[in-house]
Amino acid sequence: MKYLCLLLVALFCYTGSHAQTDPNRTVKTKVADLLAQLPAQDATSYNKVMSELLSTGEEGLLQIMALYKEPQQGDNTLIEYAVTGMSRYVKDEQQRKQFVYALLKAFRQTSSKEGQFYLITTLRLVGDEECVKPLIPCLQDERLADVTARTFVTINTNNARAAILDAMKTATGNPLLSVVKAAGDMKISAAETKLLEYVAQNENPVLKQAASDALAQLGTIASLKVLQKEAAAEKYVYDNQWTATEPYLLLLNRLVKEGNKDAVKQAASLNKSCNADNQIHVKSATLRMLVEQKGEAGMALLVKALKSKSRNYRMAALDEANVSFGDKAEALLLTQLNKANDPAKVDLLSYFGTRKDEKAVSQIIPLAQSANKEVAAAAIKALGLIGGADACKALATQFASEDDVILKATEAAFRSFKGNIGETLLAGMDNYSPKGANIAIALLGDRATVAAGEKVFSLLESSDAAKSAAAFDALKGVSQQKDLAKLFPLLNKQTDATRVSAVRNAILTGMATMDKQAKETLLMNEIKNAPAARKTDYYFLLGEVGSTNAQILDELFTLLKSGNDADKKNAVSILKVRTDHSAVISRSLTVANEQKELKALLLPVITTHLSAGTIDAEVAHGYIRRAFELADDNAVKNQLLTLSSNVKSLPSLLFTAQYLDNKDLQQTACVTVMNIALANPKFNSKEVVAALNKVLEVIEGGDSRYFKEAIRKHLSTLAPVEPFKLSAEEQKEGFKVLFDGTNMDSWTGNTAGYICEDGAIVCHPGAGGGGNLYTKEEYGNFNYRFEFMLTPGANNGLGIRTPLEGDAAYVGMELQILDNESPIYATLQPYQYHGSVYGIIPSKRGFLKPVGEWNTQEVIANGNHITVILNGTVIVDGDIAKATKNGTPDHREHPGLFNKKGHIAFLGHGSLVKFKNIRVKSLK
């Protein structure tokens, strides 16, 4: 908002040396306050601010406009929001007048040309008669003439019109063009004479054109004669850079509408003479003029037009009939249908179809049998559009034909035919040609005509291969629940893949009205009767009805592992349709890891299920990561990175960001990183910002420009993390910050699984490969302070004096971090609960905050003395030597218990836990 500051400074400077008691100061302050609220963010505040701005009256407006600068010298944004805002808000006549007078005064006072331009633009919206006189001089001004003329056009009072007329005598150059145009827009008939002068000259073709265009709006028969000459010279074609034909035609149209006899005569003559192919549009235009002028009598002209050789012309005439005469033309045109030649018949049929004219049906029906294919096809199309029982029957008879054109048209007509076509189609079946019959069967299936069930079943065994194929295909449309008894045995009999698929679909249709449990039960029963070759079809059906039967899942994986190629393929397609997404994915990942040769088959299964999108984000990310490790080719990797886009978590973003430098995966990675980041403004860490900047660098493609804008805007809105700062006391004591919320610089180890997110270190179970997070430095005796938040059942640990490898509880020391209250930990040993030196010294329990809240903890390790203070209460205060005098309480070896120094760590990776505000002080 830098322009706001400059403006406000300017406003306050303006007060100069005025005394404190200057009444103007109140207005200035008010204006400054109001401008500071712009642009208004919603309707309420807009209305309030505009109303108050308007109430500052002339004084306020003048102050605002006094600050307007030429665009090279300053930013007028706030002024424009204020003034245009007011102009659009202003309500009653009194307020409007007051506002307009203020604008006019500002206009007089402003020395900025652009400011004047801006004010006139504003006046166009709110001004009226009162603006005319003050703005007249602007009609001569190079910069302002255009906007002033347009304003006068909008105002359109007598004085405005007079001013334009006047200006035509004195303006020159571009201002003259604007004035001429305004005269036309306002239809100032008194301008005709002057305009004709401009048309007569040829030195200035731009002016000639502008004047012609204006005459088209306001001219009388005098202009018509002049323009006609010019247009005739062009042969009524849009041929030159400047054309007279259009203004002539526009004017002709106007005058014909008024009933001017000369105009009508000209239009008729033009209509007759314009027959060249580049004049047909003129012929059409004049036809329409004449027809509309004549009213119903004009319909005769349309009939005549049907005899033309030009399709463009005939169709224009029919469009006119449709648009201007509606039902009235239908009867007349119907009488022409049989008389017309074939091309005209085609056009008429199109017309009747568009109009859905039922009365035409009886005449159209015989045309469907025309020897001329175009006509027949057009007739069939029309019948389809018109609809009705007669049309339906007539169309059905077309299936007797062998001709592909006819059959295709008939099929299309039936597909969108409204109403019940099944009965009619079925009734005529015996008369259809073989090709026709097959199409009819397909239609019966597609329109789910259950009445055709018996017929379709009877055709399954037809000796005609095409017919039986059509019948099988139609099964899925016509089957009902009662047919299931036939369908299962039918399935069991089939060996051909297409037929198997057809019967399967039919079974699904047959079961459609049953509830899920009943479907599953039925299938589990029927599978017992299935031959070995068809068992997988039942697995498929079970998958389709949403069965998540675990046994079947096992069978599928057995098939996959040990079956032949066909079995493997089947297993894969069935695995894809199952709905137990997580189970299928995790099984697939395991199997693919064990038997790498099955990778290629299983990765598509995994990606299909990942797309289902109902899996928890942490879990999904874990799956994606594991699948990625398996993937060999870039196509799959890109697919997985795209799927990551739906997992809008930070681990998912950071994982994807790793590939921003990989040329083969880069673009997908860019889009995913962007999508995740932009959906989560809370992801504001260093790593996220770096990733977004990388995307800006490397993203390419059609939308990349606008994506970059989006990312830049997003980056500018990211709230920077407030870094954790030591208290004055801790600073004095010499504490060092290990984690301030903004970076992981002091840490090493599993930095993929422990990430900096929203000001905390978050352990994400699904992210990274596993392992602990360690401080880079080692510490001997120290005071370590931090905060942590648990999730239900959380289990983590604070390792101290530990090396970078190995189980810290034994090669160093672990202070347990645990959700004590979780029922799964009800029966642990005392030295296993939160805060305990694990296996060595038990902690006091009952001092953790509820899961989801932040706890503070302090750990003091001084030689063998270990103290743990949780939320202000000492829960461990013991000596590890004393505690192990008689052996370790957990009877395990703790070789690292007495290490003098080591790293501090967060241990384990199974739960989502958060840490923040971590600092440490070394003790002597």
Binding site: P71, Q72, E80, D146, R288, R311, E374
Partner: protein
């Protein structure tokens, strides 16, 4: 008299040589010999225009651009030798151009479409159809008068997978027509139903004044738009951010997203009667963002544009009897089977080359295209005035709001006229 190739084709349409039966009915390998191809000229080859050089059955013969560099790049990018122009009227006048393709920023669309209509050419226009409602009316008039074929270049109502739905619009139309969802319907278009409003097309205020680059004819680039001092952000890739030329993300994506909705709601011949907005105040020159725009039709159907992306958990189409979600999921059990019993939507004319031959209107033409552009433009007007508005779909005027009506017809900079 120049006999155009096209004229020959039209005359021959009567009998013999050249049949009007559509290619797809005749069969064959679908390859059209060059002599039978329609030709086109593209106006505006800086961005979108260059993506349209190929369209089955057409051959590029000319391009036009007001930026000399774009023009030379555009000419060079063509496979064959083509003509280059800086004045679009010369391109339109070329006898060998059958189809004029308008790929300029929106403030030129209306004017150029009318010019092309006047010349008798057929027209292919980029979306949004026109920048103002008034220009749209004029385009409809001109096309009707001269009998041209007009197509608008958004296609989702008849082709391509429709954003988050995973299907084309056809099954959606079938579902709506079947009545299984009930009536009236509410459609929500936003992030959670699969649509991105591209708010990054916002304009900048306080634009620095810059010298006009030597290769750009700024006066012609502006055309009918008001003259404002040149600044690079106004032109070429970022013009969408300025009300004088377009309407931001609403203008860019509006017709793509809204036209199919208009189609499947069966509202191709009417307009909403109310538009309500929730947005920050708009700057008079630079387009900003908005949170929500709601359109309501007379019969209660609603189209909600969710710009802020805050409307979650909502179906794409909500009806009293059932809902449709992205991915064509529904809460109507056994939907696919129930739908099968209903007719498919009427096949639309989706091949412009066919439209040009048969003179039957293209699927998305000047009339239904005008209506979906009007929805976009109503929203733009409401945003600029910062208030809700009521509209009369028959007179095409706002009710009780003269300020809004002043934005329907915005007089063009002289000498440009439409």
């Amino acid at each position: 008299m120049k006999t155009t190739r096209r004229g020959f084709m039209k005359a021959a349409g009567a009998i013999g040589l050249f049949s009007i039966v559509p290619r797809n009915v005749l069969g064959g390998n679908g390859i059209i010999p060059p002599s039978d191809q329609l030709t086109k000229g593209i106006i505006g080859v800086g961005g979108m225009g260059r993506g349209h050089y190929d369209y089955a059955g057409t051959r590029l013969v000319a391009v036009c651009d007001v930026d000399a560099k774009h023009l030379s790049d555009g000419v060079a990018a063509a496979k064959d030798k083509i003509k280059g122009f800086t004045d679009f009227r010369e391109l339109i006048a070329l006898p060998e151009v059958d189809i004029v393709h308008i790929a300029t920023p929106p403030h030129w669309h209306g004017l150029m479409a009318v010019e092309a209509a006047k010349s008798g050419k057929d027209i292919w226009c980029e979306k949004p159809m026109t920048r103002t409602i008034g220009e749209g009316k004029r385009v409809m008039e001109a096309v009707k008068q001269y009998g041209n074929m007009f197509r608008l270049n958004t296609w989702f109502r008849f082709a391509d997978t429709f954003y988050g739905m995973g299907t084309t619009v056809e099954p959606i139309k079938k579902l709506v027509d079947s009545g299984l969802l009930g009536w009236p319907l509410t459609v929500t278009i936003g992030k959670h139903t699969g649509f991105d409003w591209k708010f990054y097309w916002v304009g900048n205020t306080g634009l620095p004044v810059m010298p006009v680059p030597a290769e750009l004819n700024y006066d012609m680039w502006l055309g009918p738009a008001p003259f404002k001092p040149y600044s690079a952000h106004r032109v070429h890739q970022t013009f969408r951010g300025y009300w004088d030329y377009d309407a931001g993300g609403l203008g860019d994506m509006g017709q793509h997203y809204i036209d199919p909705v208009q189609y499947f709601l069966g509202k191709d011949n009417t307009s909403p009667v109310k538009v309500e907005i929730d947005a920050p105040q708009q700057h008079p020159d630079a387009v900003g963002t908005w949170r929500k725009i709601t359109y309501t039709y007379e019969d209660g159907c609603k189209i909600i544009l969710d710009g802020a992306g805050t409307i979650t958990d909502v179906p794409y189409i909500a009806g009293p009897k059932g809902n449709l979600y992205p991915g064509f999921r529904s809460d109507i059990p056994d939907l696919q089977r129930k739908l099968a019993a209903f007719p498919d939507p009427i096949k639309q004319n989706t091949d412009f080359v066919e439209s040009v031959r048969t003179r039957e209107k293209f699927a998305l033409n000047e009339i239904n295209g005008f209506r979906s552009a009007t929805i976009v433009n109503m929203g733009a007007i409401a945003l600029q005035l910062h208030r809700d508005l009521q509209f009369d779909p028959v007179t095409l005027r706002f009710i009780g709001d003269e300020d809004a009506n002043k934005l329907i017809d915005q007089p063009m900079r002289g000498p440009w006229t439409i």
